[in-house]
């Protein structure tokens, strides 16, 4: 179970700048793992390597024992901006990835579109173009599109970074629900400590560039699995958030 997604001495060098240095750890299936670290530390690069969008300079990343060689639909990306295709409706966006699967009949496709529209609560907006819906809705569409295509792992690169505080909070709660309901594995990159603690089953804290694992924090052991807004106001949450914040601050100060 713990060997679902494994990182084996993963290293990345751009030109002669080391970005990720010998990182080894593994991620359990059906968990939400947050990559946390100072801005520009290499955590995004590490996640992009999971997606097959970058190749490790050394080491391997493998999913269910199979080394990642390039991008495919099992590992879907959700970006902060340009996350949905503007020329397709909400429905068209969700359906997009399924056109590359030949194992689904037309009726199965329609079924899936309906299912994911409902999951993200956008049934009433199925015919809207992305420029007519809010930023939060666009991020939901991006999540649904990946899931509809059949992703097992969602790779999210600061997906809520551009949203206002309230929308952001709501999407965090929804993401936890979706992840649990759909039993997916999520890697979520952020530099926002509060977001990290609220969302994560587990936080992997990275050092400044080149990224290496600084600390592995089991958040689920402290906060449990259910994350309601009440959790956000609990003593345990504040304490953990402060602890993690100190670790990050210390790392930023040291690297100056």
């Amino acid at each position: 179970m713990a060997d679902y997604l494994t990182f084996d001495r993963v290293t990345k060098v751009f030109g002669n700048v080391p970005v990720v240095s010998e990182s080894s750890f593994s991620i359990a299936r059906n968990s939400l793992v947050v990559f946390l670290g100072p801005s520009g530390c290499g955590k995004t690069t590490l996640m992009r390597m999971v997606g097959g969008l970058e190749k490790p300079t050394a080491g391997t990343i493998s999913l269910s024992g199979e080394a990642v060689a390039g991008p495919d639909r099992r590992r879907g990306m959700v970006f902060q901006s340009y996350s949905s295709f503007p020329w397709l409706t909400v429905e068209g966006n969700i359906e997009f990835g399924m056109r590359y699967r030949n194992d689904l009949s037309p009726s199965q496709r329609t079924e899936r579109v309906v299912h994911y529209l409902k999951l993200i609560g956008l049934e009433d907006f199925s015919q809207s173009f992305p420029n007519r819906i809010s930023g939060g809705m666009r991020q939901r569409v991006a999540i649904a599109r990946s899931l509809a295509a059949g992703s097992d792992v969602l790779l999210m690169d600061e997906p809520f970074g551009a949203l206002d505080a309230l929308t952001r909070e709501r999407l965090q709660v929804e993401l936890r629900q979706i992840q649990a309901e759909e039993t997916k594995t999520v890697i979520f990159v952020t530099h926002d400590v509060e977001e990290a603690v609220f969302l994560a089953d587990r936080i992997i804290l990275f050092s400044s560039r080149p990224a290496r694992v600084l600390k592995d924090i089991d958040v689920a052991a402290v906060l449990g699995a259910a994350r309601t807004l009440a959790v956000r106001e609990s003593q345990e949450f504040f304490k953990l958030r402060n602890d993690v914040l100190h670790l990050v601050r210390h790392e930023v100060d040291v690297s100056r």
């Binding site: 590992r75 295709f85 990835g97 420029n131 599109r145 992703s151």
Partner: protein, 260 residues
Amino acid sequence: MIRDLFVFRGRTSVRAEVTLGVLSAVLILLFWEAVARAEFVAPQFLPSPTKVLVALWTMTTSQHLLWHAGISTLRVWVAFLIAAAMAVPIGILMSSYRIIGASLEPMIDFIRYLPVPALVPLSIIWFGVGEETKIFLLWLGTFFQLVLLVADDMRRVPHEYVEIAFTLGAKPRQVLSDVALRSMGPSLVDNLRITLGWCWTYLVIAEIVAADSGLGFVIWSARRYVKTPEVMAGVVVIGVIGLLTDQILRMLHRRYFRYV
């Protein structure tokens, strides 16, 4: 009311804007008519707008003006379609594969700066004075501009779209057709529309130099006999065709790219 129209960076209604546009055009025409009728300037230099209108009518009824206009339009579209059919795929390839872009860009940039009229003599040596010369000159004036515009459109397709498609299981060819082409669509059509306008510029040059038909020929032969109203009528026809084409293409753009 009047003061509302003079707010710095203010807004006006569509109706007010149309009214203002028509009004100023009418005023200028009236002024022109008055100046021409008063004969401040010799009529062979400045005929009145009504004389131009009359010339337009007689040219249409007895001098095959519409046929000439048709010939010119046909030349523009043939050359434009050839240029577009070549420029779109080449431009896309230039931004898709660095090796193609790096090899072609310097050469295209050089040719782009050659003024088309400077190549007229060469073109006549190569192709004579037939249709080929006109098509070649129009193609020359548009292809090299358009190919760089297309390359730029392709380059501006957000890389996120490409990466999303790859992680949804698309192959490179599918990313090209399902994502890149769709994403660049609106700006591509805009650039095609602008380039089509340039075609008309080169058309007149080509028809003045070597033609016995077309609007450029009409304008140039009228000049020989100082039939200034006919010269102006020819120019007006080009303007009207240009305006109409542009409006139709804009309308199609609004219709197909509603999501922009």
